[in-house]
Point group: C2
Chain length 156, copies 2
DNA sequence: ATTCTAATGCTACAATGTTGCATCAAATAC
DNA sequence: GTATTTGATGCAACATTGTAGCATTAGAAT
């Protein structure tokens, strides 16, 4: 696993329970662990990665439950779903007030990183009648780990 | 193994057969129909849509063959694969010389449209060591058809 | 027409995501 | 602290999207 890159996150760490109850949900073990896992990660996580993290915490995790819990977090605006390069979704915590940022998909190692400096809310010159709700900017290429040195085994 | 690989010739309305043979491939019915279908479409097509189009032309189409034929087109630079909103890929013909453009994903009807005016090659201020190979910009929202009038049945 | 082999079309499988329903447990009421 | 309510979970079964292996077909060359 590549190292983490930290962005200057100016987020006052919101408690997981607080976030959940503030949205009228029940603070279950799964949801709390989910939020804390996402908050602790510097980059968006896939279902697999999240499942592994929960397993490491000794928390039961059914695949379906995970999907539903994540869907709920996204619905409530607590988390965000991003498309990335492969067909699997990835999830990241929505830092309070933080604008949407671009992501970088390394085609060597498959990792997805946040590019907090690059805004995704751009190019508003849409055709008439179109309503923009959100923008997703994904840059593809080789990350610092894979680029200069030998490329890692490709994750297609 | 495919022999040569050609740099994108900048020929205008290229014939399907010409495109294929220029890249050292065999001009099969499937590939020809595939290219012509993509060329005739104003927006990127999903596998389903392509399959339906081929079926309408009375051309046998196995799902696997379609995947492989499309992969080949992308490898050769004849077509481009874009991620869109759902987990399925969509394909569009790579217009000779045309720069990459952004796409609009309507979350009401599920349609994906090309925004030729909006370039996707932006924001090059990447962290050191990162190599950008391509950028994908997808705008999500409601298209002109779905926005003003009643929203179509959601295609989540 | 014959040959060579790139493409095709099976079949079988892998990965990702969804639906329905019975059960459990988080919050509330007592 | 116990009982009640129902949101959330966990399981099974299924749907969709994409891949791998291999025998067969048909495009191009001889």
């Amino acid at each position: 696993m590549p190292k983490q890159r930290h962005a200057p996150s100016s987020a006052p760490p919101q408690s997981a329970r607080g976030l959940i109850t503030a949205h009228g949900g029940r603070a279950t073990r799964t949801r709390v662990a989910l939020i804390e896992t996402l908050q602790a990660s510097a980059h968006p996580l896939s279902h697999d990665e999240i499942g592994a993290a929960l397993a490491a915490l000794g928390i039961a995790h059914d695949r379906v439950t995970l999907y539903r819990a994540l869907d709920w977090l996204v619905e409530q605006g607590i988390a965000r779903r991003i498309a990335g390069g492969e067909r699997a979704w990835r999830f990241e915590i929505a830092r309070h007030g933080k604008h949407r940022h671009a992501h970088f998909h390394c085609e060597r190692c498959g990792q997805i990183l946040c590019l907090e400096d690059i805004a995704a809310e751009s190019s508003p010159n849409l055709p008439a009648g179109f309503k923009l709700e959100r923008a997703e900017l994904v840059l593809h290429g080789a990350c610092a780990e894979c680029g200069p040195r030998g490329p890692g085994t490709v994750a297609r």
